[in-house]
């Protein structure tokens, strides 16, 4: 047989990069075909990712040596549970974003072709290709290129609306991101020069912690923290994510900030777990906690919905790095291993789905009211119940209320924090949840208010339902969390269960 699609070693994960890339190129050639091509590519990506999930859970982690050159000479793409889970999420969010974008960015409805209708699709597909590449790659330098691809396409999406604020936000985003890239690249350079390898797995074998390894890890982490907008390097995120058009915001907030976190996990948990000292882990946690508190407080003070949602991303990303102090914090009492690590990834996944839903719902509100000021939300619960429901479901997941993926993640992290006696991180988790309730129930209350009546431009039910489906998925992730849990355990790094010792 020429193509054995069911073979456990069929390079599906390579396709999840190549397909959106190819689609981006086609979309750049023909803007008439672009929306269809983008949708097909995203569906194929999701299909490939789901099928890989099946393969990976039955046969274990999958590796593709690109060009049949094994590392250290070549680059290896690796599908472990974490990578596949992220690929599935990326597929889902991009399908939703592309479906929502069809109306606003369709060349068919706009002749002659317009700037945004042309450029949205190739850029969106480049983002998808870039994040997928970052999820599956196991090569530090290749990850750099993948991050750059994502960053440039993402910054262009920020600038897409063509307003002055959008250009400023995009420039600011790029300045931070490029600085982050430089730090990351410097770290990669030191790593290669010290160990002679770039492959994360090989690095794990050869890494002994000399001063250059420590410096490399620190520099790479600084770069990645900038790109994932971790406190205190978060200032670029809210203007950027709120300036973009809704489907682009969904891609940015749901996907673009995730690869840096995944790489951070891979570097510390897979490549250099022995470098993490308790002080370092607590320091990571402290940054995360500051991000949670500051992001939430700033989110409360915003008067525009998209800014609220964007600041909430800053807060939510803070939770993720709590994995560093909490990893391995479980006892014999817990029937699961690697609670904190799995919990952080659950939060990552559910944040992606929920934030995607929230930005798409916000996009629908903007279309209906013409702006995203909070006081324009009044009365929308009656006029646009579907979008409001989507926003509500996403809010439930972000607040970490049950049943939702956010709750599963928070429960696991919380258990680890109590089990390891680090109750202060537990307080951060609980208080963070309460703060998010404050800034998310505010907009929801306004939607239920009846006075004053405002003008509304109708938004089709089908398009509103897209956000609803994403929101529903973030809930279902918590209700049916066993399968995702099992997937994430495939080839989980040792440090995830044992902690850093």
């Amino acid at each position: 047989m020429l193509l054995d699609l069911a073979a456990p070693d069929f390079p599906w994960i390579a396709l999840s990069v190549a397909i959106p890339l190819f689609a981006a190129l086609i979309a750049a050639l023909s803007s008439a075909l672009a929306p269809v091509v983008a949708m097909i590519a995203a569906l194929l990506c999701l299909g490939a990712a789901l099928w890989t999930a099946v393969l990976v859970t039955t046969h274990g982690a999958q590796e593709v040596a690109v060009g049949a050159w094994p590392p250290p000479l070549g680059i290896v793409l690796r599908a472990d549970g974490l990578a596949v889970a992220m690929l599935i999420t990326a597929g889902l969010v991009s399908i939703a974003a592309f479906a929502f974008a069809r109306q606003a960015f369709s060349a068919r409805t706009q002749t002659p072709e317009t700037r945004s209708a042309y450029s949205f699709w190739p850029l969106g597909l480049c983002v998808l290709a870039g994040v997928n590449a970052a999820f599956v790659s196991n090569d530090l330098f290749n990850l750099y290129v993948a991050l750059e691809l994502t960053t440039i396409a993402a910054a262009a999406l920020v600038a897409m609306s063509g307003s002055r604020a959008a250009f400023e936000a995009a420039i600011r985003y790029l300045m931070f991101a490029l600085l982050g890239s430089l730090f990351y690249l410097l770290g990669v350079v030191l790593t290669y020069s010290t160990h002679g390898v770039l492959d994360i797995r090989l690095l794990a074998i050869s890494a002994e912690s000399g001063p250059s390894t420590i410096a490399a890890a620190a520099l790479m982490s600084a770069g990645l923290m900038t790109k994932m907008a971790l406190f205190p390097l978060h200032a670029w995120l809210p203007p950027a994510h709120s300036a973009a058009p809704a489907p682009a915001s969904a891609l940015l907030s749901a996907l673009v900030v995730k690869p840096p976190f995944v790489i951070l996990l891979r570097i510390w948990f897979e490549a250099m777990p022995e470098l993490v000292t308790p002080t370092l882990a607590q320091a990571f946690g402290a940054l995360g906690a500051c991000g949670v508190l500051l992001g939430s407080i700033l989110a409360m003070r915003q008067e525009r919905l998209k800014l609220v949602v964007a600041y909430s991303t800053v807060a939510q990303l803070g939770y993720l790095v709590l994995v560093f102090p909490l990893a391995g914090g479980g006892g014999a009492q817990q029937p699961w291993a690697a609670g904190a690590w799995t919990g952080a990834i659950f939060l990552t996944l559910s944040h992606a789905l929920a934030k995607g839903a929230m930005f798409l719902a916000a996009g629908a509100f903007v279309e209906a009211r013409g702006n995203d000021r909070l006081d324009s939300l009044v009365g929308l619960a009656r006029e646009m119940p579907i979008s409001c429901f989507a926003f509500g479901l996403a809010a439930v997941s972000l607040m970490g209320l049950p049943p939702s993926g956010g709750f599963t993640g928070k429960y696991l992290l919380l258990t680890s924090s109590f089990a390891s006696g680090q109750w202060w991180w537990g307080i951060v988790l609980v208080v963070g949840g309460l703060l998010s309730a404050v800034y998310l129930f505010g907009p929801l209350s306004l939607m239920f208010a009846r006075e004053p009546a405002l003008a509304v431009t109708p938004v089709s039910r089908a398009r509103q339902s897209i956000a609803l489906l994403l929101g529903l998925l973030s809930i279902l992730l918590g209700l049916f969390s066993e399968a995702p849990y099992r997937l994430l355990q495939v080839d989980r790094p040792g440090a995830a269960a044992e902690g850093f010792t």
């Binding site: 750049a28 690109v66 250290p72 042309y118 440039i152 396409a153 262009a156 000399g210």
Partner: protein, 316 residues
């Protein structure tokens, strides 16, 4: 080790001092145009440093892209911004802190790196396998082998970065100018110097470019260096009025920009036939590599040219 301190080492040290000096000047001079010119000079010096480090491919790339292309881009931007001096900032306590923190951070990182350079035992272990597998790659230049075979996936993503940057910079077009020709309309007198250059230089440039492209397989050079030279030729021809500036909505220019990565991706996808990805079979390694390089060169040339011209602008 006194004997090692030869004339060449002295040259190296002087070169390094020059590089640092130019970098400092470029970073501190108030006049933006001067800063840009200094950056170009800096790039040339760095290219010489690369030659001294035995990295001719990088030297070419640094000269063509790092110095030449970046310089042209910056000069174009300075001209468009119509400001040559960054205004004198009001000195306040904040401003002071805003200088001290970066300065101490820069100093910390530089000295840390220097410390590491001098104390750590560095390792380069991949050169042997690169050379050992060279016969299977169909090319003789190990750098090209890495770029288009061992780590061709990097290059695939890198061409995608260029592509994304092109679409991204098109995205900065004014909505009402979409469909206009790229950049500002050039007004060149037919008998002017530029026009003359524009007629003479392109053929020479083409020949140089083709040579670098061809040499890339065996000695040094390659798609990126050659593509940059072609882009320069192209731009010159446009500035001289020999050919028209392209139009972002034009089908042919889009095809030019997309062809290389598309062919590359296509080749990569055929790898799935062998249950892998981006396989360059040994039998056809040389012709396939050359074909990929040719397509990439074309697209890189088109993309860089478009990036330099920038989005369509209003002629003020």
């Amino acid at each position: 080790m006194a004997p090692a301190f030869s004339a060449l080492t002295l040259f190296d040290v002087v070169l390094c001092v020059l590089i640092i000096g130019v970098a400092l000047c470029s970073s501190s001079v108030r006049d933006l145009f001067a800063a840009t010119v200094l950056l170009i000079i800096y790039g040339v010096f760095v290219a010489i440093a690369w030659v001294r480090l035995g990295a001719v491919d990088v030297a070419l790339a640094e000269a063509a892209i790092g110095a030449g292309l970046t310089g042209v881009l910056l000069i174009g931007a300075v001209a468009r911004l119509k400001i040559t001096e960054s205004p004198a900032a009001a000195v306040s306590r904040w401003q002071f802190a805003a200088k001290v923190i970066p300065a101490s951070l820069g100093l910390l990182i530089a000295s840390g790196l220097a410390y590491l350079v001098l104390t750590v035992e560095w390792r380069e272990t991949l050169q042997a396998p690169v050379l050992a597998n060279l016969p299977d790659t169909g090319v003789l230049n190990p750098v090209t082998a890495v770029l288009l075979n061992y780590r061709a996936y990097d290059t695939l993503l890198e061409t995608s970065v260029l592509f994304a940057a092109l679409i991204a910079s098109w995205c900065t077009t004014h909505d009402d100018l979409w469909g206009e020709r790229a950049g500002l309309r050039q007004h060149t007198r037919r008998a002017g110097i530029l026009a003359t250059f524009g007629r003479f230089l392109p053929p020479i440039g083409l020949i140089v470019g083709i040579h670098i492209f061809w040499a890339g397989a065996d000695k040094w050079g390659g798609a990126f260096q050659a593509g940059t030279i072609f882009a320069a030729v192209w731009i010159l021809a446009i500035m001289a009025g020999v050919i028209d500036a392209p139009n972002a909505t034009g089908r042919s220019i889009r095809s030019f920009a997309v062809a290389g990565p598309m062919f590359f991706t296509f080749v990569a996808l055929t790898g799935v036939l062998a249950q892998s990805f981006l396989i360059i079979p040994v039998m056809v390694a040389k012709p396939l590599t050359l074909a990929i390089e040719a397509c990439l060169t074309l697209s890189i040339a088109a993309t860089l040219m478009l990036l330099v011209l920038g989005a369509p602008r209003r002629s003020a």
